[in-house]
């Protein structure tokens, strides 16, 4: 029976929707789609000038970093302001309606690389972040030993996922470059691959290069983009593989032609297979996302070919993730399990009032952020939530989802990946809340950066269809540029990447704790004692001794023996002597600087150390107790670092 809608009824419905839209900006009914229908002639446009601007900005960043290292006032403000100005001008030009696609795309690449170089300039002689040291050590082990799976006590799971290290050592060995140089090149190229894949996904699902480019701009605002994903860590490669795996089902050549099915399966097999040996969590997420895509495809269409292909892609990703998990086995579970459990426990304790919230606007290394960065941190969350509210239904409409046409239309859409990306944003508020607890912060941070695949496209849609709309004036685009800049800076704040700026030495603060005196001490051990001695020391010197000294580090995660009491106890009791035997120690390296301040990252030695250890700095007398045992030698002393030979007590 045909259903008719009376004109009065229709007017009433339109009126209600219009008013709802006006009040909420939800976009329940689609607005005009203002995409350029005719391609503009390719032009270099502003690319050369903005490249020059980026280079000048990088010069300012290098100078500001040097000034901050010397403790000059205002250097931190200058650093972040320079970064904000650079991003703002790129954002304005990329959002500009008159810019051709090729220029926008080139500007996205140039901005991505400029932001990566900003990170490289912080430490141009070597990687400096905690995770980077772990993977640098694993890669160095592969080069030196010419084999995989050399145990890495800093993170035992790292050698079991050697994807990034294999690519880096391949480049290092065929080029003859050091691992650091090869790793820097690889991560820079990955930055381009990741942004290119994100752009291609967004362009394929929306049909708009402008939304895609604005989406890439928003994507740069996720909490790990500036910091963690610029680092030499396995997730930097994994996120690029994940983006490419998501690109496969929406690539027209592979989804629209019959001959594209087999290559799509082969390419997905290669990408998810490589992902499975690169990073555990991202591998599982790829399987989950492709499964979600397959389910949406099965709901959307009755076409067997399309359903089988989507199911096959999900099955391949799932099989690869399972194979990876099965091969590595309990190591992954024992590594990830406590992280997730602890995070959820911390989150629940926060909301039951039994645990204090995380101190906001202080970086992991204890650096307090300038006021405008704090404003950006809060502003970013508000802007993103507003954009998600305004863009959610508009993005679904772009995907061909039109719920206002009746109940049957609820299960109809044209683009399942865009629907999936949009639905992912529903979890974004949870990721924001997880950040409030110190224990669940890391879970929220990782989750948030994955959800940003969806957040970025929904926000870009809101910006394009709602905020700029059909009347893209200079003022509107300028305001959009400011808002995007706030989102970008907010991402840096959320990711705790404020330590990215070079600074003076800080106690147990990861990158700010890495300085030449510790490096030289580590090199001394390799030169004068030889490699592969068992050493117990603090968090920072573990990294240096493992990489520069090539020593074997005693860690709880590897050996099951916590050597923390040995280092901080006031006296050498039989318990401490027993620890030397249990951990089979050759040497203990003491850093007297630990007695000067509380640890920047919350622990002096490793996660899970007794909480009383970091309630107050260890006493110098406790650190120097080894002086008074006649069987202990002290072969090295540089004032702050003293190396004790405990082999006589071990044997």
């Amino acid at each position: 029976m045909e259903r008719t809608v009376s004109p009065a009824n229709s007017r009433w419905r339109t009126s209600v929707i219009t008013r709802l839209q006006w009040i909420t900006g939800l976009g329940l009914q689609a607005g005009p789609f203002n995409e350029e229908t005719q391609s503009k002639p390719a032009d270099w446009g502003w690319l050369p000038y903005l490249s020059l601007l980026a280079a000048v900005a990088l010069l300012c960043l290098a100078a500001a970093g040097n000034a901050n290292r010397r403790g000059t006032d205002g250097a931190v403000e200058l650093y972040w302001l320079t970064l904000a100005i650079m991003y703002f001008f790129f954002a304005v030009r990329i959002s500009w309606p008159a810019a051709p696609r090729s220029e926008r795309l080139a500007l996205i690449g140039a901005l991505g690389i400029a932001l990566y170089l900003a990170k490289v300039l912080v430490s141009p002689h070597g990687f400096s972040n905690f995770d980077e040291f772990i993977h640098w050590t694993t890669a160095t082990d592969i080069v030196e030993n010419q084999r995989l799976y050399t145990p890495n006590a800093l993170l035992p799971i790292s050698p079991l996922y050697p994807g990034l290290e294999l690519v880096t050592t391949a480049l290092s060995q065929v080029s003859g470059l050091p691992v650091f140089a090869a790793g820097t090149v690889v991560i820079g190229i990955l930055r381009l691959v990741c942004l290119g894949a994100v752009f291609a996904i967004y362009e394929n699902v929306t049909g708009s290069s402008r939304i895609a480019c604005v989406g890439c701009l928003v994507y740069m605002g996720h909490s790990n983009f500036f910091g963690f994903h610029s680092g030499f860590a396995y997730e930097s490669l994994a996120i690029a593989f994940l983006a490419l795996a998501l690109l496969v089902p929406v690539t027209k050549q592979m989804s629209s032609t019959e001959s594209g099915s087999l290559p799509a399966l082969l390419i997905t097999s290669m990408l998810t297979g490589a992902l499975a040996v690169t990073h555990h969590l991202t591998s599982y997420l790829a399987a989950a996302l492709l499964t979600g895509f397959a389910l949406l495809e099965m709901i959307r269409t009755n076409t067997p070919r399309s359903n089988y292909r989507a199911l096959a892609l999900a099955t391949i990703a799932g099989a690869a993730a399972y194979a990876g998990f099965h091969t590595v086995g309990g190591t992954t579970a024992s590594y990830l399990g406590p992280e997730v459990e602890g995070g959820l426990d911390g989150f629940l304790r926060l909301f039951t009032g039994t645990a204090p919230p995380r101190e906001l606007f202080v970086s992991q290394s204890g650096i307090h952020l300038p006021l405008f960065m704090r404003i950006a941190g809060v502003g970013s969350a508000i802007i993103l939530c507003a954009a998600l509210a305004g863009g959610f239904f508009r993005t679904l409409h772009l995907a061909g989802f039109e719920p206002m046409r009746g109940l049957k239309a609820l299960l109809r859409w044209d683009n399942s990946l865009l629907v999936l990306l949009t639905l992912m944003t529903l979890l974004f508020p949870i990721a924001l809340l997880l950040r409030l607890s110190p224990m669940s912060w890391e879970v929220g941070n990782r989750l948030g950066s994955i959800l940003f695949f969806g957040v970025a496209i929904v926000t870009a849609t809101a910006i394009h269809l709602q905020w700029i709309g059909t009347n893209p004036t200079r003022l509107r685009i300028g305001i959009v540029g400011v808002l995007l800049t706030l989102v970008f800076l907010g991402g840096i704040v959320a990711g705790g990447a404020a330590s990215a700026i070079p600074s003076r030495y800080k106690v147990a603060a990861d990158a700010p704790s890495v300085e030449p005196m510790g490096i030289e001490a580590a090199i001394w051990t390799k030169t004068w004692l030889g490699a592969h001695h068992r050493i117990a020391t603090d968090r920072t010197n573990r990294l240096l001794m493992a990489l520069y000294g090539r020593q074997e580090i005693a860690t709880t995660i590897q050996d099951g023996v916590d050597t923390t009491p040995l280092l901080v106890a006031q006296y050498m009791t039989p318990y401490e002597l027993d620890l030397i035997k249990k951990a089979k120690l050759d040497y203990v390296l003491v850093d007297l600087r630990l007695s000067q301040a509380l640890p920047g990252v919350g622990v002096y030695f490793e996660k899970g150390e007794p909480s009383d250890v970091h309630q107050e700095p260890p006493a110098t007398s406790a650190l120097l107790k080894f002086n008074y045992n006649p069987e202990i030698g002290r072969p090295f002393d540089n004032g702050a670092l003293k190396l004790f030979d405990v082999r006589a007590l071990r044997d």
Partner: protein
């Protein structure tokens, strides 16, 4: 079309062979890196897409797939080399050369008509082509200036790290001389104070003075090492100790290191 197809394949094969030759015959460095980089990050993925006859080779998505698949292929190659016990430069060069050339040669055997059809699909991207015209002088000047300023930024950053040393220190050490028997040891120190310093060094055996050197002047970064031997036979364990003093503060023991020498 067919000749274009073959010429691209030919270029890829030449680049792969050049990369392999660079690994075998050139010393390591940035020149070798420039020649061999495609062997790791471009050519295996390109060859695989050619073999799959995928019309994906243009546009940002295609470039990303080429690089991503190259990395995936490199990872697979790494496991092969691990199994073969050949994770070394020559091993990498051989397997990556094979992973490029073999798929390309197989793809050349495929019917050219289908390759043409695949290739024609890449023309879908033609409307988004990169600028064909050369940029004007002002734009070229801007690019050149950008590269120059970028180089300056790198130099400033490197200078900042090397020139600024927050901690000024002197390293002192005593280590046994394994090759010289149980009674021989090395004592040494290195000046990292940022300036020339004059030191006094005392060597003691079980608290008794063995040797003393006065006014050893070391400039910044300079090292002083001396081999010493205990003048009598070791009966049990002895402590060899080094004490370092600065001449500008001679009463304060500046650094102290010791080891236990044993006849075991």
């Amino acid at each position: 079309m067919i000749s274009g197809q073959y010429s691209r394949t030919g270029i890829a094969v030449v680049l792969a062979i050049a990369g392999w030759l660079a690994v075998v015959f050139m010393p390591g460095g940035w020149v070798r890196a420039a020649i061999s980089l495609p062997l790791v990050l471009v050519l295996p993925g390109y060859a695989l897409l050619r073999l799959m006859r995928q019309p994906l080779l243009n546009g940002p998505g295609g470039a990303c797939f080429i690089t991503g698949l190259s990395m995936a292929a490199t990872i697979a190659a790494g496991f092969l080399l691990q199994a073969a016990g050949a994770l070394n430069p020559i091993g990498w060069a051989k397997v990556l050369l094979a992973m490029t050339v073999v798929p390309l040669l197989i793809s050349m055997r495929l019917s050219p008509e289908r390759q043409d059809a695949a290739q024609s699909a890449t023309n879908l991207d033609a409307k988004f082509a990169w600028p064909s015209s050369r940029p004007g002088r002002l734009r070229l000047a801007a690019v050149a200036a950008a590269l120059a300023v970028l180089g300056a930024a790198g130099a400033v950053a490197r200078h900042g790290v090397t020139a600024y040393r927050e901690f000024k220190y002197t390293e002192l050490w005593v280590v046994p001389d394994i090759s010289g028997g149980n009674s021989s040891f090395f004592a040494g120190f290195r000046n990292m104070e940022g300036d020339t310093i004059r030191y006094d060094l005392e060597l003691l055996i079980d608290g008794k003075l063995l040797a003393k050197w006065n006014a050893i002047a070391l400039s910044d970064g300079e090292e002083w090492v001396k081999q010493s031997t205990v003048p009598y036979s070791l009966k049990s364990s002895l402590r060899a100790e080094a004490r370092l003093f600065r001449q500008d503060d001679p009463t304060r023991l500046y650094r102290q290191a010791w080891i236990n020498l044993s006849n075991k």
